[in-house]
């Protein structure tokens, strides 16, 4: 089922072969007929004397050919639709598409014959093989788009008639859609809207084979169609009941290429993420924004350790928030999470409420039912000061577990500390003092570590990034008998003064530790803060000496500050776009409609609202149309009024009667009306068919008609 669906959604895979098959069958049929006629001329040819053959010829509709203008428009718009894919497609495909498009354009301009069918078939096979070699599969989003592009190119080369043109335009719509799977940002959407408008022009030109309509008129018409369609589109967008997807399994690579946290951590994981200045999420606070050092955005909680790599534990999320004791004021905020293809939702330590369709694990991690693959907005309440509850026995077991034979020297050190002072608080302080007082360095480019990564880091290299410190700290605590775990997430963020919200980028990714203390529960300890307090208070840029490797938007130096300022203004627009447009899914829709005062709205309510709004739009539209149907020209309107008045007295104007014939007839029947009728006719003819329109004369005509009594 999934496979069929994957094929079906890439349209191509069906549209082209089916169409091509139809072509081939027809060609075969013609060949057969020809062969039959050659070998048995008497049997199959109808005798010329009976009119039968003639009727047959008439009944058969000939192939309506595409004009070269229409074809060139189609080629142009398809090229524009493929262009944004250039980076995602295999290297050879986009240039191949452009070459074939140019080739077909040349054929259209210089009226050359189309390439033979065998060449086309070979190209199609070659393209499929190419996609297969490039991706090792034909299933999936990327191979699907590649196949769509390749088959569109092949279809171009066999395009001859009207139907081929229509298939091409439909493929074009699919290409536009496929672009939206990669980017829904404002510039892309604006670009695609322009492409759709041009595609409408192509579609108009395809169906208008005859007259010498210049490109300008359809362009105007298409622009008008899009403008008129936008209100209806908005109503549908807001009110059409949304179904939470996906309906079927998606291909594995459906959301490939998303950077972000993963549910594993080993040396290098986070420092790699730091290289990206992509936005991870944005946050709007209901009240005042807390200070940067309080902003610990909780992501995956890692329990398992194999000596080098930390892994997440599969915990069953509960449908209610996990209880803890708040010790400070509540903080409410809304998070706009960018697609991450992961289930976790980020929240400040510690979250106390649940967004819809999400649960919370005992490690205070928010998990959604399905991965976040759209811009997702959710509201959370957090308490920055807290005290957590009891530790279960399994948690104690997991929080102390270490691989038996790894990192012996670190183990030794921890045993030593424990022998000196077994209180957990002093063990924590001992570890932090180690980082603070010995010569540890905070760097983005630490030396590589081997299997005993903790030992090597603690006793040899002493250069590391937050994951090194968190990992070493938790290891030491566990070895010393204090339950501990690694938390990954983000720390801090950039405040956008223009829109009063916080931007958290991938470059704010961070890892820290939590230890369990008997009387306080889980307590956050950030060993990085011991090494580099600046990282926590001022962000990554202030903490690093080698800032050259940081991405542009994560820097805070004076170079191109205006450009960063510009980027921030642009980001204000983006957060609005994300909040109101991209995050508008099933949940947001319900929230929005309830917010309008409709109470809880289900799909029935939405359907009713949608139908009602559309009908009222329709009524407005029809009224406007009716008004504009009554001719806009005051001269014509006055004349129509005059004719109407005469028609009420049995003197209706025939459609074939011009104004002169008509008035003559009226005068013949009603001689007493001769004077006003003549005058009106004279004015009307002068105004309607004469060269100038003096407004005084128009008013005179209107006055005459008003006074006229039949």
């Amino acid at each position: 089922m999934t496979k069929i669906w994957v094929y079906a959604q890439y349209g191509v895979s069906f549209l082209w072969p089916v169409d091509s098959l139809a072509h081939t069958l027809k060609a075969l049929e013609n060949l057969m007929r020809f062969w039959k006629q050659q070998h048995n001329p008497l049997a199959s040819r109808p005798s010329p004397s009976t009119g039968e053959e003639r009727v047959k010829v008439c009944a058969q509709t000939p192939v309506e050919l595409l004009t070269s203008t229409a074809l060139i428009w189609v080629i142009l718009t398809l090229t524009l639709a493929v262009a944004p894919h250039t980076n995602e497609l295999p290297v050879w495909l986009a240039p191949a598409f452009f070459i074939i498009a140019a080739w077909r354009g040349g054929i259209a301009i210089w009226q050359q014959p189309l390439p033979p069918r065998w060449l086309l078939l070979m190209l199609a096979l070659l393209a499929t093989a190419g996609v297969l070699v490039s991706y090792k599969t034909l299933l999936g989003r990327d191979p699907g788009v590649a196949l769509l592009t390749a088959m569109t190119a092949c279809k171009l080369l066999e395009t001859r008639g009207l139907r081929d043109g229509v298939v091409l335009v439909f493929l074009g719509y699919l290409l536009v859609m496929s672009n939206l799977l990669y980017s829904q940002e404002i510039p892309m959407v604006a670009y695609l809207l322009a492409v759709v408008t041009l595609m409408l022009v192509s579609q108009m030109l395809i169906h208008r084979q005859h007259a010498g309509l210049t490109a300008l008129a359809p362009l105007r018409l298409a622009g008008k169609m899009v403008l008129v369609a936008i209100p209806v589109m908005l109503v549908l967008f807001v009110l059409f009941p949304r179904i939470p997807g996906p309906l079927w399994g998606l291909p594995k690579d459906a959301y490939k290429g998303r950077t972000g946290l993963s549910d594993e951590m080993e040396p290098g994981t986070i420092s790699q993420l730091i290289q990206s200045d992509e936005v991870a999420f944005r946050v709007r606070f209901t009240g005042a924004m807390p200070s940067p050092k309080q902003l610990y955005w909780r992501g995956p909680v890692l329990w398992g350790f194999d000596g080098r790599r930390w892994t997440r534990r599969d915990e069953l999320p509960s449908q209610t928030p996990v209880p803890f004791t708040p010790e400070g004021p509540a903080l409410d905020y809304a998070v706009l999470l960018e697609p991450s293809n992961q289930r976790w939702l980020l929240a400040l330590d510690l979250p106390a409420s649940l967004p819809p369709r999400a649960g919370m694990t005992r490690s205070f991690q928010l998990l959604r039912e399905r991965p976040v693959n759209e811009v997702y907005r959710y509201e959370v309440r957090s308490y920055l000061q807290y005290r957590t509850g009891e530790l279960t026995s399994s948690e104690r077991f997991l929080g102390l577990r270490l691989p038996s034979k790894s990192n012996p020297r670190a183990r030794e050190l921890a045993e030593e500390w424990r022998a000196r002072d077994p209180r957990p608080e002093s063990l924590v302080n001992a570890a932090l003092a180690l980082f603070r007082e010995q010569s540890f360095y905070y760097t983005l480019t630490p030396p590589l570590l081997g299997f005993h990564s903790i030992d090597e880091f603690l006793f040899r290299t002493r250069e590391g990034f937050c994951e090194h410190y968190a990992s070493a700290f938790v290891f030491l605590m566990r070895a010393a008998g204090v339950p501990a775990r690694v938390i990954t997430g983000y720390q801090g963020g950039e405040r956008n003064e223009m829109g009063e919200y916080l931007i958290v980028r991938q470059s704010d990714a961070h890892a820290w530790a939590e230890v369990w203390l008997e009387d306080r529960g889980w307590v956050r300890i950030d060993p990085t803060a011991a090494v580099s307090p600046n990282r926590i208070q001022q962000g990554i840029y202030a903490a690093l000496a080698d800032t050259g490797t940081l991405p542009f938007l994560a820097r805070r130096d004076g170079h191109y500050a205006w450009l960063r300022q510009l980027a921030l203004s642009w980001d204000v627009l983006n957060i609005r776009w994300n909040e109101w447009v991209l995050a508008y899914g099933p949940d947001r829709q319900k929230e929005f409609l309830s917010g309008l005062g409709f109470g809880t709205v289900d799909w029935r309510g939405m359907t009713i609202a949608m139908v009602a709004t559309l009908s009222s739009l329709g009524v407005i539209f029809i009224t406007l149309r009716w008004r504009s149907r009554r001719s806009r020209d005051p001269v014509v309107r006055a004349w129509q009024q005059f004719c109407h008045r005469l028609a009420q007295h049995g003197l209706a104007r025939g459609l074939h009667e011009g104004p002169l014939d008509f008035t003559e007839r009226v005068i013949a029947q009603r001689p007493e009306l001769a004077k006003p009728v003549r005058e009106i006719a004279r004015l009307y003819i002068a105004l309607r068919y004469g060269p100038v329109h003096p407004s005084m004369a128009v008013r005179q005509l209107q006055r005459q008609v008003r006074r006229f009594r039949a």
Binding site: R208, L236, L655
Partner: protein, 315 residues
Amino acid sequence: MFTALRQRFEAWVTRGQRPARDPVRLERRRIYILPTRYGYAFAALLFVLFLWSINYSNSMGFAFTFLLVAIAHNSMWQAHDTLLGLIIHPADVEPTFVGQDAQLRFRLENPDPEPRYGIALQWRDQPPSYVDVPPSGAAVATLTIPATQRGWLRPGRIRILTRFPLGLLQSWSWIEFESAALVYPQPRGQRPLPAALPNSAGGGLHEVGPGSEDYAGFRPYAPGDSPRRIAWKAAGRNEQLLVKRFTDQARPELWLDWALLGDDPVEARLAQLCQWVLKAETESRRYGLQLPGVRIPPGQGDMHRRRCLEALALF
């Protein structure tokens, strides 16, 4: 089966309509609209796009799908408006011969200040031919109908249609006019022109075409005379117009007689007579036509030829 159903439907829909004599204005209640096969394919495409949007939770995908829905809906109105209010004038027809195509030229008038694009007339299942009608103007749409039978060719119900703007929907209406095309018999037959009768009515002195050279004085002008034969110089001297007379003693007038064709079948006789008429005319002969019940006295020229052919067509 399907065709029969469709014909019955058409008959039912147009049951109240009489063939029109005057120009017809297309009103709302006689304009129909249905998707074309591309329209159905487009609907399927929209469905795929919709499922695609759901599956990827793609917000802009929904917006794009809804935009196309709105555009398709808008194109429905446009297809309807393209026909609404259009005025169709009865056809202007030239007579044709059996075996040729009759050309019916309909004038389409647009009373509105907006142009109307892509309007076509269609007769039965023949491919439609499209025209654009300029704002507050008119255009001529030509309907080509093969003439298969002599006599009056009534095209019957004609479909006026448009697929403007996107080809997704077709709006159409049926119109029927009283006007008909006259179809002459097919000029066919191997027989030579019949021999002239030397002592037929009118003696030996007949007017003939401009090819003959024997000038024989003037006679008063009568309607139907060729302007080339009017004696313009003499007109200046006289009260009335005079026409030059020519005689051709060597080429006496012909009688194209039904009876000459013996036992041939009726249509073959008419075809032969038709061919004779055309031949006599090109050879600039004076000829008369004799059919059972019809007798056209000898004459010559376009009007005469037309009169003879008409008699043959309607026999």
